[in-house]
C-alpha cells in the first residue's frame, strides 16, 4: 500500500532503472486490430525463438533484478496504425515493423535482436515517396501527430501498473488529493478550457463545479465508455492502451465533486478494454490507489467496471444511467441534469473516456501547458478515428485547429479510389461526427477544425470519427445510410424521432429509387427541422444533421437524382440506364434472355443494343454479361 508521494516516486525510479538497462525491449501491439491479425501468435513465437537463441527472455519486468543481458517482450495497446498490423517495435533502436507474420519472427531474432540490423521487407513503405521507414518517427502517419492523450498508448504494457507509474502516473492524483481543494481542481480544469470529448463539447470544469456545489451525502462519477458512433474507436484504444489514465482522471473528478464511488460503463463489444480495465482497477486497489484512504490521504473512492449490452442510445448520459440502474436504456428529459439528480437520484458527473484521460496531464503539468496547443476556444488535442477511403486508416491525435488537408493527405496518406489506387485529389467529402455530424467538402480543406468552426457549418466534432469518401460515393446513399442507422437505434420513446426518422428514410428511399417529385426535397427539409426540434434526446435532435448537411453541400447531386433521375456517382441502381459498349460486346445473347421486358435486341455474334424506351433499369443485364460490355450511365 502506497502511503506517500515518495513511495510512488520510488517505484518510478526503480522501474526506470531496471528497464533502462535492458538489452532490448520488443513491443508487440495487442490492440484489437493487431490481435485480429494474429499478433498474439507472434508474441508467443518471439518468446520461444528468443529463448532458443540462448538469450534471457522475460515477459514481465521485475524491479529487483539485474536486467543487463535480458530482452523484454511485452504487449501494448493499440498503436494507432491498425491497418498495417500486426505491429512490432524494438527499443531502444526505435525500429518499427509492420504486417509482421509468424514466419518473420526467426529473422527478427537473428537479424534485428542479435545483430541490431533492420529488415527491409518489414518496414513501412511510404506510398507516395517510396521511402522505407526504419523508425516510427520516419513515418508520416506518426510524425505529423501530437500524441498526448495517446502518448503512452502503444508504448506501455497496459496490464502493468508499474509502467504507468514509471511515466509519472498517479502523481496528479497525489497532487489533487494533497495540494488542491475541490474548488481549485474545478478552477484549474476550467482555466485549461477542457471541453467534453464525447460529442457535446461542454466545458468540463463548469460541469464539475455545478456538481461540486450540490449538497448531498452521496455523489457519483461515471466514465462513458459506450462508444457506439459508427466509425469511431478512440475511446476503445485509450481504455485498451492506457486504462490507468482513465482511472486517474476519475479519481481526480471524484475529489473535485466530492464523490466516493464511480462506474466505468464499457460496451461489451470491447472485450479487451473490459479485461484491461478490470486488471487495472485491481492493481490500483492493491497499491492503495483506489478504495479506502487513498495513499494515506483519507480520501475514499470505489470504482466499478460495468458492461453494456449493445444499444447505441445508451451512450446518451441519462439513458446510460438508467442502464446502470438495470433498466431499459431510455433517455429522460433534462432538467433535472445529472449534476442535480443523476445515478440513483444522486448528483453525478458523467464524462467521456478521452475527457477523463486528459485530466491527469492538466493537473500535473498545469492548465497553461494544456492550452499551449489547440485553438483559443478549443484548447488541447483531439483524437480522431480516420477510416473509409483513405490510405492510412487508424487512430490519430492532432491539435484542435488542424485541417482536413493535413489529416487526410499528410497523415492519412491520400484518398483511395475505387480501383485501389491512391490519389492526391480524389476526395469528395469527409463525414465528421458520425450519424449526428455533417460533411466537409473540398471547400473546407483548409478550415481549422474545432468545436466552433464546425458547428458554424452545420457539422460537429462529435466523438471524433472521420469517414473519408472518394469521388465514387453517392451522397444521397450516404444520407440514407446514416438515417437507416439512427432510425434503427431510435429507442422509440418520443414520436418525432421514432416516426420522423422513418418518414425521412422513406423519402430518401424515394429519391434513390427514382420516385421522388419536385416536392420531395422540400418535405424532407421541413421534416428534418421538425425532428431536430421535437425530439427528446440528442439522438433524435441530431439525426437529421447528415441529411441536411449533405443536401446543402451537394445540392446539385440531390437535384440530379430528383429531376434528371440520374445518380452522378453511378451508385443508385434504379437510376442507371444501362448501355452496351459495342467494342466489347461479342453478341452472345445472354442479356437478351435475362431482360424481363425484352428491351435488348441484336444479331447473334454482333454487337447488341438496348432500347431505352423499354428498359426499366433493373440491372439484370449488367450482372449477366461476362465481358463487362454493359455499363450503367
Amino acid at each position: 500500500m502506497l502511503k506517500s508521494l515518495d513511495e510512488l516516486k520510488e517505484i518510478a525510479v526503480k522501474y526506470n532503472n531496471s528497464s533502462n538497462i535492458l538489452k532490448k525491449r520488443v513491443i508487440v501491439c495487442a490492440g484489437t486490430g493487431c490481435v485480429a491479425n494474429g499478433s498474439l501468435k507472434i508474441y508467443n513465437q518471439l518468446v520461444k525463438k528468443i529463448k532458443e537463441a540462448g538469450i534471457d527472455c522475460i515477459v514481465e519486468l521485475k524491479m529487483e533484478e539485474s536486467n543487463e543481458s535480458k530482452i523484454l517482450v511485452s504487449e501494448s495497446g493499440c498503436q494507432g496504425f491498425c491497418q498495417m498490423g500486426p505491429l512490432v517495435t524494438i527499443e531502444p533502436d526505435g525500429i518499427h515493423y509492420v504486417k509482421v507474420k509468424v514466419e518473420d519472427v526467426q529473422e527478427i531474432v537473428n537479424h534485428t535482436l542479435v545483430l541490431g540490423k533492420p529488415i527491409d521487407r518489414l518496414l513501412y513503405v511510404d506510398p507516395l515517396t517510396g521511402e522505407h521507414c526504419v523508425h516510427t518517427q520516419d513515418i508520416r502517419f506518426y510524425n505529423r501527430q501530437s500524441r498526448k492523450v495517446l502518448g503512452l498508448c502503444g508504448h506501455i504494457n497496459p496490464s502493468d501498473i508499474h509502467e504507468y507509474i514509471a511515466k509519472n502516473g498517479y502523481q496528479a492524483v497525489f497532487k489533487a488529493l494533497t495540494e488542491m481543494t475541490d474548488k481549485d481542481i474545478c478552477e484549474e480544469i476550467t482555466y485549461a478550457g477542457l471541453r467534453g470529448r464525447g460529442g457535446g463539447g461542454f466545458p468540463t470544469g463548469r460541469k464539475w463545479e455545478l456538481t461540486r456545489i450540490q449538497k448531498s451525502e452521496k455523489k457519483y462519477v461515471i466514465c462513458n465508455g459506450d462508444e457506439g458512433d459508427p466509425g469511431a474507436f478512440m475511446d476503445r484504444s485509450v481504455m485498451e492502451g492506457n486504462p490507468h489514465s482513465v482511472i486517474e482522471g476519475m479519481i481526480i473528478a471524484a475529489k473535485a465533486i466530492g464523490a466516493d464511488e464511480g462506474y466505468i460503463y464499457v460496451r461489451t463489444e470491447y472485450p479487451f478494454a473490459v479485461r484491461r480495465l478490470k486488471i487495472a482497477v485491481k492493481q490500483a486497489e492493491e497499491l492503495g490507489l483506489l478504495g479506502e484512504n487513498i495513499m494515506g490521504t483519507g480520501f475514499n473512492f470505489k470504482l466499478h467496471v460495468m458492461e453494456g449490452a449493445g444499444a447505441f442510445v445508451c451512450g446518451e448520459e441519462t439513458a446510460l444511467m438508467s442502464s446502470i440502474e438495470g433498466k431499459r436504456g431510455m433517455p429522460k428529459p433534462k432538467p433535472p441534469f445529472p449534476a442535480q439528480s443523476g445515478l440513483f437520484g444522486k448528483p453525478t458527473v458523467i464524462n467521456n473516456v478521452e475527457t477523463l484521460a486528459s485530466v491527469p496531464q492538466i493537473i500535473l503539468y498545469g492548465a497553461k501547458e494544456f492550452r499551449s496547443c489547440g485553438t483559443e476556444n478549443s484548447p488541447g488535442t483531439k483524437t480522431f478515428a480516420l477510416t473509409g477511403h483513405v490510405a492510412n486508416t487508424g487512430l490519430i491525435e492532432v491539435p484542435f485547429g488542424s485541417t482536413i488537408r493535413e489529416i487526410v493527405y499528410n497523415i492519412g496518406g491520400g484518398v483511395t479510389l475505387s480501383d485501389g489506387t491512391i490519389s492526391s485529389n480524389g476526395l469528395k467529402a469527409v463525414q465528421i461526427g458520425g450519424p449526428s455530424g455533417g460533411c466537409l467538402t473540398t471547400e473546407h480543406m483548409d478550415m481549422p477544425l474545432d468545436f466552433d468552426s464546425l458547428s458554424g457549418i452545420g457539422a460537429m466534432v462529435g466523438s471524433g470519427g472521420l469517414v473519408v469518401m472518394n469521388k465514387d460515393t453517392c451522397m444521397v446513399k450516404m444520407a440514407h445510410f446514416f438515417m437507416q442507422f439512427t432510425q434503427n437505434e431510435s429507442c422509440g420513446k418520443c414520436i418525432p424521432c421514432r416516426e420522423g426518422t422513418k418518414q425521412m428514410l422513406a423519402l430518401l428511399e424515394d429519391i434513390i429509387e427514382g420516385r421522388a417529385t419536385g416536392e420531395t426535397l422540400d418535405i424532407l427539409e421541413e421534416l428534418a427541422k421538425a425532428v431536430q426540434k421535437g425530439s427528446l434526446c440528442g439522438l433524435g435532435k441530431t439525426a437529421p444533421n447528415p441529411v441536411l448537411s449533405m443536401m446543402t453541400q451537394f445540392r446539385e447531386e440531390y437535384e440530379a437524382h430528383v429531376i434528371q433521375k440520374k445518380c452522378p456517382a453511378k451508385q443508385c441502381k434504379a437510376l442507371l440506364s444501362p448501355q452496351i459498349i459495342p467494342e466489347k460486346c461479342k453478341g452472345c445473347g445472354l442479356c437478351v434472355k435475362v431482360c424481363p421486358v425484352n428491351a435488348i435486341s441484336g444479331v447473334r455474334k454482333e454487337a447488341h443494343y438496348i432500347n431505352e424506351e423499354l428498359c426499366i433499369k433493373c440491372g439484370a443485364c449488367l450482372e449477366t454479361c461476362r465481358l463487362n460490355a454493359i455499363v450503367g450511365v
Binding site: 498490423g85 459508427p230 444499444a311 446502470i324 438495470g326 469518401m469
Partner: protein, 157 residues
C-alpha cells in the same frame, strides 16, 4: 439443461447485488452471467433471474428485449457477426455479408440446422481501422477479403 446457477455463480450474483444500492441494478450483470452459462436467455431463464433478484418478470423481459446483445434464441457454436456500418461498408462490408450469407445459407439472425453457425449483421464494433471486419464469438478478424473469409470459415467447419 437445468436452469440453475452453481454455488460459485450464486456468490457472483450476491456480489453484484451488494455492489448497488438497488437490487434491480444487478440485473444486467446477472443476465450476462446467465448468457455466458446457458448460451442465450430463454423465457425460463428470465423467470429464474426474476425470482433470484426479486424483480418482476415483465421488467426482466423488457430489459432483455431492449438490448441487442442478449440472445433471444440459441446462437450457433460459431456466432458470426458481420459489420456493415459505414467504414466497413465503404470498404466492402456489404459484399462480405452477402458472401457469408450465401455461403452459410443463412439470413440475418438465423442459426444453421446443425447448430454450428449463426449469422448476425451488426453495427460498428469499433474496429473500423481494419475494415471490413467480422467477429466470430469474441474473436475479431479484420482487413478481410472474400477469400480470407472463406479461409476463416472453412477452418472452423
Amino acid at each position: 439443461m437445468e436452469i440453475k446457477f452453481n454455488d460459485g455463480e450464486l456468490a457472483k450474483v450476491e456480489n453484484l447485488k451488494q455492489k448497488y444500492p438497488q437490487q434491480q441494478a444487478a440485473l444486467m450483470g446477472v443476465l450476462w452471467l446467465a448468457q455466458n452459462k446457458f448460451g442465450w436467455i430463454s423465457k425460463d431463464i428470465m423467470k429464474y433471474v426474476s425470482e433470484l433478484l426479486d424483480v418482476p418478470l415483465s421488467t426482466v423481459e423488457g430489459v432483455v428485449s431492449f438490448y441487442t446483445m442478449y440472445h433471444k434464441k440459441q446462437p450457433g457454436k460459431y456466432h458470426v457477426q458481420v459489420c456493415t456500418n459505414v467504414s466497413c461498408m465503404l470498404r466492402g462490408g456489404q459484399e462480405i455479408y452477402d458472401h457469408i450469407s450465401k455461403k452459410l445459407n443463412l439470413n440475418n439472425n438465423e442459426t444453421s440446422s446443425d447448430g454450428q453457425f449463426s449469422l448476425e449483421e451488426v453495427e460498428c464494433m469499433g474496429a473500423c481501422g481494419g475494415a471490413p471486419m467480422i467477429a466470430i464469438n469474441e474473436d475479431f478478424y479484420e482487413n478481410l477479403t472474400v477469400e480470407k473469409v472463406d479461409e476463416i470459415l472453412d477452418s472452423l467447419k
